[in-house]
Amino acid sequence: MKTTVPILRAKLLRALKPCGSYWLDEDTLHIQLNLAHPGVTRDELLVVLRAWKEKDYVDFRVDELSGLTEWRLTASGRQLAERSSVAQ
């Protein structure tokens, strides 16, 4: 069974929301999304993250020390997470 995009978005919001304004590296995010079946591939994750970047829901940076790509929710992304948690 493959993870559908809406489920993946919900998982992503649930993973990034508790981080608040702090950056979460992509590896940890990928591990978190694969804690439960069905798993998520890195490509599927990147597709959703890029789509959200275009909509300004998430922001990313490359950490200079670790060299990891890190993601976090923007203000509009946090509002989206709030709305989705209220809807649930």
């Binding site: 508790p18 608040g20 702090y22 950056w23 590296d25 804690l35 439960a36 079946h37």
Partner: protein, 342 residues
């Protein structure tokens, strides 16, 4: 009289054995043997006991017809074998155990008097007895009802890479929870992992925010960039379990202490520089006063003019040398040690 061997083919004998044994029927082995050796007199007519009556019980039949019953029991044993068979000739079916003693004479499994019979009368071969009730199994709710420490222990056990069957055995041995499938354990682990993840990140975010707020509202002046970097690093370390709440508090206290010492050291340096500047200014004013008085004296006594010119040249050299020393950063200015008249 010499004994003749029975040359009946095994296929025919087996077919005869598979026919149902009804009450009053002649023994199948006997019948097949009679068909095979038509020329000789049947042994049963001379040696065998008389045929059992139609009302004979199954126990009586088993005593009187050992070869047939041995085949049938062996066949039933084969059908039961897939359920479970222990190494010590004990058979357990879905929670109930029945021990069998091997009969050395004819190979018949005869049940011990202490245990229940292996097969219930009327149970069709190949089916588990209906009278056996399965033992109570644990559910995922039993796992959810465990205390926090045990749940964390289970999650750590799975995270460490232990396979689920091993975890099931551990749960059965330590907690008395028996699972026949991996699915409930896996589902519980996923729930637990999500819950722990949420808790970890909530805690990390809250701790890092608290640390930043303590630093921001302290008397010491931290730049906002430094605070954000510190918060991010604390968040990362807490989520990776390299730092816990107590260590964050200690880290914050040490940081404040170091920063406070740094600020007090800076303030002491600034005060010393101010004091030095004030003393220089005072020294210059004293020097100017002395030079003016000396100029007045020279006007009154023209014979010491030559000495005065020589003294002024030496003073200029000394001032230039002092200015050079001031510009050198590594050396401390020896202004405080110098006397005004030097």
């Amino acid at each position: 009289m010499t004994k003749r061997k029975d040359h009946t083919p095994w296929s025919r004998r087996d077919a005869a054995l598979r026919t149902p044994l009804s009450a009053g029927e002649a023994p199948v082995a006997e019948a097949s043997a009679a068909g095979a050796s038509r020329c000789r007199k049947p042994r049963s007519a001379t040696k065998r006991p008389p045929k059992p009556a139609a009302s004979a019980t199954p126990e009586d039949r088993s005593e009187s017809e050992p070869p047939v019953v041995a085949r049938r029991v062996a066949k039933r044993r084969d059908t039961i074998a897939p359920y479970k068979r222990s190494s010590s000739s004990g058979v357990s079916v879905a929670g109930s155990s029945v021990t069998l003693a091997e009969d050395a004479t004819n190979g018949i499994d005869t049940p011990r008097p202490s245990g229940p019979p292996l097969l219930l009368e009327g149970t069709p071969a190949g089916e588990a007895p209906a009278a056996v009730t399965p033992a109570k199994l644990a559910t995922i709710d039993d796992l959810r009802a465990l205390d926090e420490e045990t749940r964390g222990h289970i999650a750590d056990f799975v995270i460490s890479g232990a396979p689920i069957p091993t975890l099931r055995r551990m749960l059965e041995a330590e907690q008395g929870l028996r699972f026949t499938e991996d699915a409930p354990v896996v589902e519980f682990y996923q729930e637990e992992a999500r819950r722990r993840w949420q808790n970890t990140f909530d805690t990390a975010s809250a701790d890092a925010d608290a640390m930043i707020n303590v630093l921001r509202h302290s008397d010491l002046d931290f730049s906002e960039v430094l605070l954000k970097a510190l918060g991010q690093q604390a968040f990362r370390m807490i989520t990776q379990r390299e730092l816990n709440t107590k260590q964050v508090e200690k880290f914050t206290r040490l940081l404040l202490q170091a920063r406070g010492q740094d600020v007090s050291r800076t303030r002491a340096k600034e005060a010393l520089a101010l004091q030095r500047e004030k003393m220089e200014r005072q020294f210059q004013s004293d020097l100017e006063k002395a030079l003016n008085a000396l100029a007045d004296e020279i006007k009154a006594h023209p014979e010491v003019r030559e000495s005065f010119v020589f003294f002024r040249a030496k003073l200029k050299e000394a001032m230039r040398a002092k200015a050079k020393i001031k510009k050198m950063p590594a050396q401390t200015p020896p202004l405080l040690e110098e006397t005004p008249g030097a």
